[in-house]
Symmetry: C2
Subunit: 324 residues, 2 copies
Amino acid sequence: MKTLWLENQTLSFREDVPDPDPQAGEALVRVRLAGICGTDLEMTRGYYPFTGVPGHEFVGEVIAAEDADWVGRRVVSEINITCGRCAPCSMGNPTHCERRAVIGIRGQPGVFADLAAIPLANLHPVPDSVPDEAAVFTEPLAAALEIQQQTHIHADDRVLLIGAGRLGQLVAQTLALTGCELTVVERNPKARQLLEARGISVIGPEDVPSRQIDVVVDASGSPQGFALARQAVRPRGTLVIKSTYTGEIQVNFSSIVVDEITIIGSRCGPFAPALRLLESGRVDPTPLIAARYPLADGLTAFAHAKQPGALKILLEMMPLKGVV
Amino acid sequence: MKTLWLENQTLSFREDVPDPDPQAGEALVRVRLAGICGTDLEMTRGYYPFTGVPGHEFVGEVIAAEDADWVGRRVVSEINITCGRCAPCSMGNPTHCERRAVIGIRGQPGVFADLAAIPLANLHPVPDSVPDEAAVFTEPLAAALEIQQQTHIHADDRVLLIGAGRLGQLVAQTLALTGCELTVVERNPKARQLLEARGISVIGPEDVPSRQIDVVVDASGSPQGFALARQAVRPRGTLVIKSTYTGEIQVNFSSIVVDEITIIGSRCGPFAPALRLLESGRVDPTPLIAARYPLADGLTAFAHAKQPGALKILLEMMPLKGVV
């Protein structure tokens, strides 16, 4: 089959990768549309030592499964493949499974490919009314919703989001649904325009207030973003870290103690509410799509995704002969 | 009156300090017993640029007040003197008052003195059954209870406390009351013995488990303690920082995001439950008393308090002539 392939941090397009061979409990899924996310870009910079097919954001359709009910269904997939038996799994925290594989990131081939073998337990059917172009955002939208799984956003909270890139745009849309007083810090004109089109106020970093914000979400991925978040959060406020940083950050923890700040690291989130919000139209990720490329042009697609301010770049797979 | 006096980080004993002149809303309090805490020691190392009478942990008795009902009452006092009008005060967070003075720490004379003028609004009467030797611990006990104000300790949580010095001992006693599975990391023999006498299990740093603990409280005040806390906390667990560190700490926030750790800075806490726990005897701080010194021997008392592993050192004030 055709795939992108990552090896020694180098990406290539290959047509010689064997089709996946689904194991017990796995479905064979034809990938229809896949999204390039920040983690995919980081992997080409050595963030994870992964060799194989990258990619984990996608919508596809089941073409083979033990349970015939699944065949023909359009699906999205949780990315963590879990053991179900370790301490985190037993506590209801499967995304923290100690033995987890992660699709396209760790120990499991990804979805920048015509086909993928994926555990049935990971799949969620996509409602008919949700087009592929929206469904492909389910995974990052779930990650955005993880914030509200972890901390209570009160309707009257002042909330500041720092950074409205690929993930930040979805965070902004979901935070706005709470009715909170939301402001987003973003400089990129296109990103600002998308937010303003939804009535979300946008400011520059120079206008960030000091010690006033109830909940600050840092989706900037930069130490400067963290510093800005720390400046903005009020005493006893909450600082959610929604994206990873490269390397370590110097933190004055004495001031965190004196101001009694709560800092929350936030990663993968729940798929079911993400699909509900897509189905209801309360979140519309499609304006984030900057470009679509055929899988064969994956290297160009990655180059595009790496441009500063680039929003979502999609990879489109061709229908297989004799299928669909 | 007689006081200790801090100036240019140097402590002295003085007999020439004028008696305080209570302002409207203030009571004149005779200090009976005062405790030396870590912050007092830090102040002699330049932690805060304070000149005047240090000290904020005490029990005393009101000898003059506008409201005669207060006169003769034994009292303890909240240490933050607040404006009641700023944003934190309006939100019910008076300990974060933007214009706060802090007794013996910032903008308000402290209690290592025969007398102190203290706002009536800050005072709490001490129940008759609570002796001075217990009441003097009200402020640090309240700080210990702040942990449970900020995070829910479940009865079946695994909880690890790192450091059982002056504050840590009180944290250990209050955490043990929840029924949680509590373990304390402490090397000092005396501190270990006090914990073991209460049936609290104690381990050395070498026996701290990895990624298993629901709630870790770092009361060590050292970067090594923070590193140990980070090691011990489970994915999606909570790390409470209960003491300040000198300088900045390097933190790998990407791992905090991946493991979705919550970090909570924790400072001053509620006095009323602290007094209830002292009255009921459910917390007994008196075994923490390492020594009592007359105020005139305050410099010796500070030297004692600075010894590694020293627990609580108290300063005792002489009854005033014609009073009591």
